[in-house]
Subunit: 354 residues, 3 copies
């Protein structure tokens, strides 16, 4: 009878799982025009988050799935996005079939960002070494609302994903729409993804403001890593074309005469390693942005870090990175959560998942 | 010992239950002046939500109850209200006695809305067939803050409810106050409610802005349904009087020369059915608004839908509705969550409760 | 096998505990210039809240800890702070060692507020008797973001705490920083704390707005209570110096010719008792603010309350307080959640923790 009571209770709770990550530490940034700054920062290695998710078995290999995930700042308790969107990280509901794959509706990750954070970057798009600022992965290149995503089942290590996000503008079905797809291979030591993201940047007419026809943003990324056991090697190559294909650096943060603009035509390369050392892992990467526009505003970044695990769920870390801007480029060393303000940054912190 | 560990854990969790609903699909609206639009929409059948609730047994048939419930949009992750109120759907605490009934304080549903969604409308105030736009149930007619609600116990199928919400305006205790009550009967196949809602719309003086004396909004609704097993029949009759007694349609959405205004004196009728068919239910309704003002801006709506259950907690659905406006009325086909932008709408989607 | 299923489920849940408090009641305030007002108020005795916290045992007496805590209003469902910060009450992550103490990073309580609410005030900084308005405990004197807190282990009843919060202003490491410390003794019937809080109020240059050099706010508090069993006696003495060292009362709420300003040099005293009576406790306090500036705007407050427990987690309460302002002082009777609008207030309500 007592066990029966628990069964009811456990059953009541089992429809939803609460999960999350709290990551905080100290960040020292220098080389910015405003001077050095030391901050308590949330989400250095990965954005702090709180989420609710569930899976319901519907029988015959079919299940209903959902997730609602907030990005939060553990340094000041605020929601971690400029629009105070509660579940800014993820919000979706859908069906998943073992044989046919899954179809989900809502606010979801792009294939572009997943490939970058899960395969391309030894720093997982976090810490001082994050490649987010040099590879064009910010804003809608990371997540997109009103998206329909189909993910195929995995067959012999291969799988594929398709994303289509509606622009929802009356009278113009393509304005603001976003398309993405990914071809993935993961088997044994090899993990590889080829992904594409295409975002229409037209804005429809609103009242007396006329419609604005703009370029599309087109991003392609090849991400590969291979686990040689003594070292895991990482390689990534990307092309970024069109408006806003790079994150806009903090305006004039370096006091350049000409404000740096994000490149509208660039090629990005990353070479990185993760090396087991002692109880943890040494991470290192070299990232390079080759601006193909007439401005030729290239940049390169070196990064080094160490992750020290205290348990499967908790770790401490240190990381350092330095960026070199050319011809007035204004890229900064950031982390998973902030674009940063300087060309050098040091991190030390703790992350705990639950 | 292992079981002991669960008992502690289950006990720690048992004070609060997490629950919710994620509902999303595609909505195609047409007939609006801006042209057709196709959207990923959240809350088509019922607003997507995440809630926390608890009941504590205090002995002698008395218990303490609370609920905190957010309305959310699973299409973009945002809170689903214009003021970003975290627990905009419900927030209350109170006491519940088996013999004496319950008394709760906080942000709560009106009897008017509950009767409409729970008894009057076969679409449950959701999907394209929602009667929300034609019956006057929006804003404070749905939920009201600073409310005290008494709900009687059920005796021979009869029960009653009283709501009084304070206006909280210094020096004028009636400005902004709201009153509601309901007489309910539910026994066997018959479910009937007679409800009344009266909202004072005065605003007190603020600084140099003088107090404004306005009409009251008065809404009366008789809602009845009867389950004949082969078909469940629905009937509703309402009178709406006073300012804002109808939801304001999207201004000029249809490009009428005179912007349509919500009727300040109207009678509304709904006739509907829910018919078990195959694994699911066919829903249909005819809703009519009779504007008694000199504008005589009447409207009628036809709606048809099918709910296909995948489990007790998950279903898929399709629905279609068409509205006919007369004399420049500007009512739109909406759903549970949106007022809509056109006079025709088609829905297809999935809803999952947890 | 069924038990195994629960074990997985219980384990999945055990990483995070949901907790909270819902407190709501009626507040009648009078003596304000705008006239009397009766309100449904949330957080009269203690701010209503919803929190998520966890502890992970890392072995060797070390654990990882985190908390994310929202302040909410159960009367209207809104977040209970002007900036809509989701986890405005607490947000931190850190490590705790049985031998070495704990170190936490994030948004945290000041030692000043904890001593006042946990030791100094028989009303626990809540109800009409709250000493928050007369003792200088509002805003950053209560909680501070970007804070590092070290708390020592308890040795023979003694413990200590240190807080350092970064101002995070580029080029000026002291602008906006906050320092706090506390010396605590708790053994047998005696509970005593000596705490200090020092907040730098400089603001750095932003664009063309030059840096502003301002005083520091310095607050010292000695808080003592002693449990004589038949009565628990409370005593507190505080000095408040510098800008904004007192909460700013509602501007001109009493219509004084000269708007009352918070004292920049004051001494505060509280004498209080908590007396077991019947099933509950009678609370009473006398609070006095001695303004040492030339304005000499002193104030005194009398308060009386009764807490009636329905269970360990649920209670009902009544409280009344009256304040006397001198020389144009504008202090109001508040409660834990509101500063109040009058010089008299009556509370009746219910609080339920989960």
């Amino acid at each position: 009878m007592v066990i029966g009571a628990f069964s009811a209770s456990a059953q009541a709770q089992s429809n939803v799982t609460i999960y999350g990550l709290v990551d905080a530490g100290l960040v020292k940034e220098s080389g910015g025009v405003a001077g050095s700054v030391t901050k308590v920062t949330s989400g250095i290695g990965g954005q702090s988050r709180l989420g609710f998710r569930g899976v319901e078995d519907l029988g015959n290999g079919l299940s209903a799935v959902f997730a609602l995930e907030s990005g939060i700042k553990v340094d000041d308790g605020a929601l971690d996005n400029s629009t105070s969107t509660l579940f800014n990280r993820q919000a979706y509901v859908g069906l998943k079939s073992k044989e046919l794959g899954s179809f989900t509706l809502g606010r979801q990750y792009t294939m572009l960002y997943n490939a970058m954070s899960q395969v391309a970057d030894p720093f997982g798009a976090g810490y001082a070494g994050s490649i987010k600022n040099l590879f064009a992965t910010a804003g809608a290149n990371t997540r997109v609302s009103n998206a329909m995503v189909y993910a195929s089942p995995v067959v012999n290590g291969f799988s594929g994903e398709l994303l289509y996000a509606l622009g929802e503008q009356a009278g113009d079905s393509t304005a603001g729409r976003q398309i993405g797809f990914g071809l993935n291979y993961a088997q044994g030591p090899l993990n590889a993804r080829l992904v594409y993201n295409n975002r229409n940047q037209d804005t429809a007419a609103v009242g007396t403001t006329p419609a604005k026809k703009q370029d599309e943003a087109k991003n392609t990324l090849l991400a590969v890593n291979y686990d040689f056991t003594v070292v895991k090697a990482f390689f990534a190559y990307a092309t970024d074309k069109g408006l806003n294909s790079s994150p806009i650096p903090v305006a004039n943060a370096f006091g350049y005469k000409t404000a740096p603009k994000p490149s509208t035509d660039a090629r990005d390369i990353l070479i990185g390693v993760s090396v087991p050392a002692g109880p943890g892992n040494v991470l290192a990467s070299y990232t390079s942005k080759d601006d193909k526009t007439v401005n030729n505003q290239d940049a390169t970044q070196w990064a080094l870090g160490y992750i020290y695990p205290l348990s499967k769920r908790t770790s401490t870390y240190v990381a350092y990175a330095k960026i070199k801007n050319k011809n007035g480029a204004g890229y900064t060393v950031g982390n998973n959560n902030e674009a940063g303000t300087g060309d050098k940054a040091f991190n030390v912190g703790i992350r705990h998942s639950f």
